[in-house]
Every structure is written in structure tokens, then in C-alpha cells.
């Protein structure tokens, strides 16, 4: 485990010197937290959320509100629309870090001396994977914390605040988020092992976020509604996706391939 920790530390001290990586890691969570907070502030301030009647909401929305009053339910439904934005962070941030971390090794030819040490492929990938995934997961959790804090400051009803600590949000932020980060890292490793340009790797790996964007569109259009059952299914599918992507990433990350084909 010492080697894994050393790799994480080394990656962070190298990768975060890159302004683009630093910018994406800090700016994206700030933006994706600020947008919901601003919208929420404007809705709470103008009372727009209360102006909807519960009758206008689909039965799915009504079912998730439980004992909430009409106005509270409207606010909670609006808040739930923001959930996919918090799932974008663990999908996007690791792509930038992993792309620069792996393609960086490729272009600076630092991988051969590293592979000549007794480190195993699993330790190496775990170190690099965690170095990319942890900042994204931590940023997502911090952003979620700030969002909840913002909701408290805006004096949302305690019954709505309590909803943040129920299964739906907790599974989304603390299970789906890390699973997305892992999938994103594995995808970035796969792409990075086939290209020599960090930006190209980042752009291609960025396609990984499309399913999350699709989730936002589906949620906003009412095609789906994120409730506990759906988020659990998403988590389950992500576990399978992670297993497949990690398997492919490890298969593609063969020492011999790296040394003889990476140019």
C-alpha cells in the first residue's frame, strides 16, 4: 500500500502543477455548485417554487415527497433536478487528471524506469486511478456539503434539508459518485493507452460524461425520475460497468505494449 500512496502523492505533486488540471478540479465543482445555489436562491426569493401546484407534478414526483407540504415538495422536486449535476463532477474531473497523468508518463518517457522497479501493474494502476478519482470524489462531497449548507442558509424547510440525508441523495453522492469516478478513470486509462496527446485523450475520454448529460435531459424532460429505486439500479449498472472497464483498462495497460508501442 506504501507504493500506492507514494504514487498518489507523486501524481498530485506533478499533475496539479498543470494549470488546466487545477482549473478543472477547482472551477468545475464551483460552477456546478454555484448554478443550483443561484437557481435555488432565485426560486426561494421569488416564491416561484411555491407557485406550482402539486397537481401539476407527475405522480412520480408526488411519491418521492412523502409527508412534505405542497410548497416544500415543489422545492424538493426542483432540488432533485440538480442531482445529476453533482454526478457530472466525478465523471469529468478524473478524466482530466488521468489523461494528463498517463499520457504525461508516455510523453516524458518516465514509465520505463518505473516499470523496471518491483511495482506491480495493479499497484501502479491503483495509485494512478486513486490519484485521479479521489480529488473528484472529495470535490463532489465538498460541493454537496456546500449545497446543503446553502440550502440551510436560504432557510429551506427542515423537512427538505432532512431529505438530503435520506437514501436517494446519500446513494447518489456517496455510492454512485465514486462508482462514476472509477468508471471515468478506467475509461480515461483505456483512451490514454491509445493516444499520445493529453488533450486528445481528455477530449475523447470526455465523451464518458454523455450518459450523465443524457440523465439530466431525461430527468428535466420528465422521461425518468430519480428516485431511490432508479438510483440503486444506476449504482448496480455502474458496478458492472466498472468491472468491465477496469478489466479492459488493465488488459490494455500491458507492460510490453506500453514499452514497445507507446511513442
Amino acid at each position: 500500500m506504501n507504493k500506492v500512496i507514494s504514487i498518489i502523492k507523486k501524481e498530485w505533486s506533478e499533475v496539479f502543477k498543470n494549470r488546466l488540471v487545477l482549473f478543472s478540479t477547482i472551477f468545475l465543482p464551483l460552477l456546478l455548485t454555484a448554478i443550483p445555489l443561484v437557481i435555488l436562491y432565485s426560486l426561494v426569493g421569488s416564491g416561484s417554487a411555491d407557485s406550482f401546484s402539486l397537481g401539476e407534478l407527475s405522480p412520480q414526483f408526488q411519491s418521492v415527497c412523502g409527508d412534505l407540504k405542497v410548497g416544500e415538495c415543489n422545492q424538493f422536486v426542483i432540488i432533485t433536478q440538480f442531482m445529476p449535476m453533482f454526478l457530472m463532477m466525478p465523471g469529468i474531473i478524473p478524466v482530466t487528471i488521468a489523461a494528463y497523468s498517463i499520457v504525461g508518463e508516455k510523453t516524458s518517457r518516465t514509465l520505463e524506469p518505473l516499470l523496471a522497479t518491483p511495482i506491480s501493474t495493479i499497484e501502479l494502476l491503483l495509485g494512478k486511478g486513486l490519484a485521479a478519482a479521489l480529488p473528484a470524489i472529495i470535490a463532489t462531497w465538498l460541493a454537496f456539503g456546500v449545497f446543503v449548507l446553502g440550502a440551510i442558509v436560504m432557510r429551506l424547510a427542515p423537512s427538505i434539508i432532512e431529505k438530503f440525508f435520506e437514501a436517494l441523495w446519500l446513494i447518489a453522492i456517496f455510492i454512485v459518485g465514486p462508482l462514476l469516478a472509477m468508471a471515468s478513470v478506467s475509461f480515461a486509462v483505456m483512451i490514454s493507452s491509445r493516444t499520445s496527446d493529453a488533450r486528445v485523450a481528455e477530449q475523447i475520454s470526455g465523451l464518458f460524461v454523455l450518459p450523465v448529460v443524457a440523465l439530466i435531459i431525461a430527468q428535466v424532460s420528465g422521461a425518468i425520475f430519480l428516485n431511490e429505486t432508479l438510483i440503486l439500479w444506476i449504482a448496480l449498472v455502474l458496478v458492472l460497468v466498472d468491472v468491465v472497464l477496469i478489466y479492459i483498462a488493465v488488459k490494455l495497460f500491458q507492460r510490453e505494449t506500453i514499452l514497445t508501442r507507446w511513442r
Binding site: 516524458s108 518505473l114 507492460r255
Partner: protein, 312 residues
């Protein structure tokens, strides 16, 4: 140097698709020996080092390094070896000390600070230890990469083109350092284009061009290929003495070039006095006698050209 074999290659081959990069390579290297692999670009030198370092698998054949097979015990081999890759491969965004401490952790060193200090001081980089590697010159990078290769005190050192691209002064420093390392009794396998380096450092050399074309001590290769030639500088044109020396049984061949007689002899130390006497009796004014020393470059070029001629 002992007779204990620490590297043994047996019919080692590597192909990439249809391209044969290394073909049936067999040799052994003894403990404490400095062995040079010489060859043109694309001859398979780096691929050979990578196979011996258990970084890539041979297509066929086997190698035993420090008692472990490269086919199955690569992780144990990697603990016993240090490698200087063709490109130093350092982390530019980290300082020199941090580069080494990272690798010290990869080897689970118990006293990393002590080792880092030892090698940074030995290579004259101690004062620059907190400087970013991106600010280092090529020579300093190469020295740092050497320090990294030695940090865990490996018993075998693989050096891929250790002086490539360095200015003469830095190349000399690196060369001297390798000599120091050699005196510590480590086994070194180096590849180089710089035949002076090979001549200076290597106990034995192998000339590689996909196959191993020759393998021996530089002195033996020299003798086998060129014999020993002695030049007699005369005070007059040498042609007048050519037939006379050619008739001597000890002279394998003779050539007259202006005032010089060039004779190929089996044993100059024994045969020179008699030849000198005969020339003096024939009124030759002998100004100077010396042995023509063929360089390793001559040997290398001769072997590679002979091989090319065979291929035609």
C-alpha cells in the same frame, strides 16, 4: 570479477509481428564483469536489455538473471537490477531529491535519505537537490538517472547508451562514475555507440546486429581480426626493403607505404629484434618502431561490414 554467472541468455529471441529484432542470442556474464553490447541502431540492444530486465517477454529462448528466470520471476529480477534507460525518464515537475525519494519508496528502502544523500553527493548534485529537474542540463539529468538506478544498491546494472548525447566533459564524468561503480564489484551490461567508452570500460564486448556477430575481449577480437601489425619508420623509401622482409618466415604480410614498412607479425616482442638487426645490416636508417593498435571502432566496423558482405 569471478567466474560465477549472473546473467545467462540462451537462444533469446524477440519478434514484433514479422520483424525479428533479436535472433537466438546466447551469452553469459560473470559477476563483477562489465559487458558491452555494441551494434548499429535497430540492432536489438535495447530490446535485449528490456528482456533481461524482465520488462518484455522473449518470443523464444530464456534468460536467467541473478538466478531467476525472466519468463516467470520478473518481479524478483527487478529487485536485483538497476536500469538506466535510453531516455533518462525523470519527472520534470519534481525536484531531484523528490525524484529519488519516489523511487526509493518503490524499492521499499529502509534508509532512503541516506542513500539519496550518498548518490547525490557522489554525482555532484547535492547542492542542486531542491531544484526542479526541468531546470537541469542533459548531463545533470543523466547523472540523476544514474543515481536513481543505483539507489537500491542493485547487484546488476543495465546502462542503455549511458553517454549518448553528452558533451565530452560530461561523458568523461559519467564514464568515471561507471568505473567507480565497477570497482564496487557490480555487474554491468551496457550498450553504447561510443566505442571509446566500450574500449575503456568493458571486459568483454558482444557485437549485435539482430544476431550476435562476435563476442570476446576487445584485445582478442583485435588479434583475431587483424593480427598484430608493427610499423618501421625508415630514413629512406621503404620499397627497397619490402622483398627482403617478405622473405622472412616470421613475417605474415608486409606493405611499404612511403618511408614506412608495415609488417604483420604473430609475436612482435620475439620477432622485432631480429627484423631490426636485418634492416640495420641492410643499411636502413630505423627512426622509430611501433605497434599499430586497431581501435575497437575498426573491429566493430570490420565485423559489421563482413556480416553485410555475407548477407549480399
Amino acid at each position: 570479477m569471478t567466474t560465477e554467472t549472473v546473467i545467462l541468455a540462451k537462444n533469446l529471441s524477440k519478434t514484433f509481428g514479422a520483424n525479428v529484432v533479436v535472433d537466438s542470442l546466447s551469452f553469459d556474464i560473470h559477476r563483477g564483469e562489465v559487458f558491452g553490447l555494441l551494434g548499429p541502431n535497430g540492432a536489438g540492444k535495447t530490446t535485449t536489455i528490456r528482456m533481461l530486465a524482465a520488462l518484455i517477454a522473449p518470443t523464444s529462448g530464456e534468460a536467467i538473471v541473478s538466478g531467476y528466470s525472466v519468463l516467470s520471476l520478473g518481479h524478483l529480477i527487478r529487485r536485483k537490477i538497476g536500469i538506466l534507460t535510453e531516455s533518462p525518464g525523470l519527472y520534470d515537475g519534481l525536484n531531484a531529491e523528490r525524484n529519488l525519494s519516489f523511487f526509493a519508496q518503490m524499492y521499499d528502502l529502509e534508509n532512503p535519505e541516506q542513500q539519496i544523500e550518498k548518490y547525490l553527493k557522489m554525482l555532484g548534485l547535492w547542492e542542486r537537490r531542491f531544484d526542479l529537474v526541468s531546470e537541469f542540463s542533459k548531463g545533470m539529468r543523466q547523472k540523476l538517472a544514474l543515481a536513481r538506478a543505483l539507489l537500491h544498491e542493485p547487484e546488476i546494472l543495465f546502462l542503455d547508451e549511458p553517454t549518448s548525447g553528452l558533451d565530452p566533459e560530461m561523458a568523461r564524468l559519467v564514464r568515471d562514475f561507471i568505473n567507480e561503480v565497477r570497482e564496487q564489484g557490480r555487474t554491468i551490461l551496457l550498450t553504447t555507440h561510443n566505442l571509446d567508452v566500450a574500449e575503456d570500460l568493458c571486459d568483454r564486448v558482444g557485437i549485435l546486429k539482430t544476431r550476435l556477430l562476435a563476442l570476446s575481449e576487445p584485445g582478442i577480437l583485435r588479434r583475431d581480426l587483424f593480427g598484430r601489425a608493427v610499423v618501421f619508420h625508415l630514413g629512406q623509401p621503404a620499397t627497397g626493403y619490402l622483398d627482403m622482409v617478405k622473405s622472412l618466415s616470421s613475417v605474415q604480410s608486409a606493405e611499404a607505404i612511403e618511408n614506412k614498412l608495415v609488417l604483420k607479425l604473430a609475436d612482435p616482442e620475439t620477432e622485432n629484434p631480429a627484423i631490426v638487426r636485418i634492416l640495420v645490416e641492410a643499411s636502413a636508417d630505423i627512426q622509430f618502431v611501433g605497434e599499430i593498435r586497431r581501435s575497437l571502432e575498426d573491429i566493430y566496423l570490420q565485423i559489421v561490414r563482413d556480416d553485410e558482405a555475407k548477407q549480399l
